[in-house]
Symmetry: D2
Subunit: 136 residues, 4 copies
Amino acid sequence: MQAAELETFLDEVFPQVRGDYAIDHVEPMKVTVRLKTAERHLRPGGTVSGPSMFGLADVSVYVAVLAMIGPKAMSVTTNCSIDFMRKPVANVDLIGKCTLLKLGRALAVGDVLLLSEGMESPVARATLTYSIPPRD
Amino acid sequence: MQAAELETFLDEVFPQVRGDYAIDHVEPMKVTVRLKTAERHLRPGGTVSGPSMFGLADVSVYVAVLAMIGPKAMSVTTNCSIDFMRKPVANVDLIGKCTLLKLGRALAVGDVLLLSEGMESPVARATLTYSIPPRD
Amino acid sequence: MQAAELETFLDEVFPQVRGDYAIDHVEPMKVTVRLKTAERHLRPGGTVSGPSMFGLADVSVYVAVLAMIGPKAMSVTTNCSIDFMRKPVANVDLIGKCTLLKLGRALAVGDVLLLSEGMESPVARATLTYSIPPRD
Amino acid sequence: MQAAELETFLDEVFPQVRGDYAIDHVEPMKVTVRLKTAERHLRPGGTVSGPSMFGLADVSVYVAVLAMIGPKAMSVTTNCSIDFMRKPVANVDLIGKCTLLKLGRALAVGDVLLLSEGMESPVARATLTYSIPPRD
């Protein structure tokens, strides 16, 4: 699946976050997803909240899996470890750079670096495991 | 600090989530926090979203630390590992039961079980580390 | 399976760690496993090494799963998060208290508290996920 | 510190693992460490054990921090999350490729990919946090 198709699919299955994310780049086993930062994602001082960072990491791996296996299978997150390393820059988008390290029949594992747009040092890193249901 | 004071403090420092959480119980090294589930916390089917589960786990440990050391120090999350084990029950509150396993000078570690209200098996578990800034 | 059977099975499938572990207690969804601390498990100062703590946590969940599903299925660790919270006491056994939080068809999740024998505060906590292969 | 100095320092402070590790490469914020696989690191079938994989990940981040801040400070592991993704190849060395993502005054965070020598797909990945004691 390509970026535009993936965005349309996300909007359909997760209407609650419609418009929150843009898919900047897709290649085999890698995607870049953008949180279009808005007031509802922020904490006092204008920095992105922890749940919004978690959400971006989670969506990034979801999209990376979807891009590889297509929209049929509904995979679910089983585990996430996330390290918060620096304060995000206020009032800029947050970028999730995801690499799939494993795409097995039953489990996928993806690493994500989260960066405030325009900065080089990551604000957070996360690893997520998705359980992929048996295919028909 | 007691439950009512903790709720007031939360509302002041995190106005973005005002009204989302209730503090059901506080005792030394343990707290129970409730996510008053509303439409903005849900995914299709009425189940609580991953970011909302993460948010409840995060707030639970934050409140447990606050209850012990008071409102002066602003601690920040440095790490979280979370396992999603069962689908939450639709349209009921989510309960976070937190136990502090360590409350050191610089780091605190708390375990959280997340349960759909009325159920015995946890929907998720999480462990979070907070960095506590040096006190004056 | 009961404690004696479990110990015999461990010795057979993991001859490299024969004699390292004793199974102190088994009940549904819970086990207590003991690392019989020896020179090869230690670091300077007589405290148990990180890999030995990881090993005890890993074996504890393995045994807890085995106790429930029997010796046929060879489950494998897919994920571990572990927090090291206090220095172990020198020259005493290390105790792993494991609770299975989930025992599904494909995945099991167990929590482990690691304690120096005779102490109340845990030296570490860990959560592990095991992948359980399809049964015949 | 350079590779030879780091190996000498490791041998002195951790005599229990003397000879287990070689430091293949050191550059700012990155190191490559090799587990010279021997019988004591293996499980039946000749694959590297979980505790040995954990040990290599742990040493890799330790060495990466040491290479940057020198031998004075004794940092300690506070947290590790590790994903086991593929079976290691039997009877070859295991390589740990570590990148420090954060090197703060109090906390360092490092990512490690573990690879069976000669293979491209990682057998495991890990992230570790080290607590760095205040410097004199």
